[in-house]
Amino acid sequence: MAIMGTFVFEEDFLAAAENLKSSGFDNISLLSPLPLEEAQEVLGLGKSPVRRFSLAGAMIGGAAGFAMCVATALVFILPTGGRAIIALPSYLVITYEMTILLGVLFTLLGFHIISGLPAWHDEPYTESAGIDRFVVVVEGTDGEQAARAEAIIRGAGAEEIQHVEEKS
C-alpha cells in the first residue's frame, strides 16, 4: 500500500521528506510541479548517470563519423580537386557533427533508461501534483510502517492524506 500526502507549502513538504528519510523509509517519491533541488538532495541524488551516456555517445559518434568518412571514401577512389582521398580537415567537420548527433541520441536513450519513462504501469499520482501541490508518496508499507509514515506526514502539516492500493 502507498501513502500519499499532499502539501500546500513547500517547506512542509521538504520537512516531511527529510523526516521520512531519516526514519528509515527508502521507497519515497517526491512529486512537485517544478524541479526542487532540495527534494533531490533529500533523496541523495547526486550526479546523474545520464552523463555517462552522453560521454559514450559523443565518443562513439566521433569514432563512427570518422570511420564513415574514411570507409566510404575508399569504396571507389574518386580524387577531387587535387585533394587527398583521406582529407583530414574535411573529415574533421563531419566527425564533429556526428559526435554531437550521437551524443544527443545517447543522452536521450540515457534519459529514458535512467528515469524509467515511459511509465508502463500506473503509479500513485494526483493531478494537483502537476499544478500547485507537493506530494510525498511512501510505497511498499503496510500496517505498523504505514501508520508511522502517516504520522510523520500528518505531523508535517499535510493538507490531505490518501491510501493507494499498489499494483505489484
Partner: protein
C-alpha cells in the same frame, strides 16, 4: 603491414595520382584564332548540345561548352580585337570537383575532369566554384525539332533538366581511340589519333590536342612556346589548357 602504410601514404597524397595515364592537354594559339566560332558549332554537333533558343539565350542561359570571348580596345575603325576560346580547362586542382556532394564530378586517371550526368542532382555548386564560368546547367529539358534529332551523336548521351554539363575533351572520342589501340595489340594511343570536335573544326589549326605525357607529341612541343600562359594562373587551378599569347603588332 607495408602495403597498409603505402596505401595510407597514397590516400593522403593530394590529388592521389603520381602521374596520369594520359595527360590530355590542349594548346590554343590566340594569334591564329579568328573568332569564327567553327569550334562552337562543331562542339554543338558532336556533343548533342541542346538548342536553347533565342529567348532563353537572351536571358543568359546558353549552353556552349566552348565559347569565344571577345575583348577589344579602342573604337571603330581603330579597334584591336582579341578572341579567347573558353572551355573547361580540365584543371588538375579543380575547385568544382571538391564541392559536388555526390561525386558527380571527379578527376579521372587521364587527368580529365569528368562529369557524370546520371549522378548529378543539380545543386549547381560546381558552377559557383568554377572561376572560368565554363559549366552549364540544363534549366529545362530541351528538345530537338524534326529533323534535327537525326543529327544527334549516338556516342554521347542526351541530358535531362536539372543536370550540369561541360566540355569533356570529347571523352567519347578518347574512349574510342583507347579501345582501338587496345584491340590493336595493346599499344598506346598515338599522337593525332584523338581529335576533339573543336580541334577538328578549327580552320586555322589554332588548337592542338594530345597527351603531354608523351614528349614527342605535338602538344608537348607547343606547350614549351614562350608565349604560353594559363588563364587565371594565379588561382592555382593548374589548368590543362595552355594559351599562346597573341603577338601584338
Amino acid at each position: 603491414m607495408s602495403t597498409f602504410v603505402e596505401k595510407l601514404k597514397a590516400y593522403s597524397k593530394p590529388g592521389y595520382y603520381d602521374e596520369f595515364d594520359y595527360h590530355w592537354t590542349m594548346t590554343i594559339d590566340l594569334d591564329r584564332c579568328t573568332g569564327c566560332e567553327a569550334c562552337v558549332v562543331a562542339c554543338q554537333a558532336e556533343n548533342n548540345l541542346p538548342i536553347v533558343g533565342e529567348k532563353r539565350i537572351a536571358r543568359n542561359r546558353e549552353i556552349k561548352w566552348i565559347r569565344i570571348e571577345r575583348y577589344w580596345e579602342g573604337d571603330f575603325p581603330d579597334v584591336k580585337m582579341g578572341f579567347i576560346p573558353m572551355l573547361c580547362q580540365q584543371c588538375d586542382d579543380a575547385p568544382c570537383e571538391t564541392v559536388c556532394p555526390v561525386f558527380a564530378t571527379y578527376h579521372n586517371q587521364d587527368g580529365l575532369n569528368t562529369q557524370i550526368y546520371n549522378r548529378c542532382i543539380g545543386t549547381r555548386s560546381c558552377a559557383i566554384y568554377c572561376p572560368y564560368e565554363v559549366r552549364y546547367f540544363n534549366w529545362f529539358t530541351y528538345t530537338w525539332d524534326e529533323p534535327l534529332e537525326q543529327q544527334l551523336n549516338p556516342d554521347v548521351s542526351v541530358r535531362e533538366k536539372g543536370v550540369m554539363e561541360k566540355c569533356t575533351f570529347c571523352i567519347q572520342r578518347i574512349r574510342i581511340a583507347k579501345d582501338k589501340a587496345k584491340d590493336d595489340d595493346q599499344r598506346r594511343v598515338r599522337d593525332g589519333e584523338v581529335v576533339p570536335a573543336c580541334v577538328q573544326g578549327c580552320p586555322t589549326e589554332a588548337m592542338v590536342f594530345g597527351d603531354s605525357n608523351d614528349p614527342e607529341a605535338k602538344v608537348s612541343k607547343m606547350m614549351k612556346n614562350p608565349r604560353g600562359y594559363a588563364v587565371l594562373e594565379e588561382l592555382n587551378t593548374t589548368p590543362s589548357i595552355v594559351y599562346l599569347k597573341k603577338a601584338h603588332a
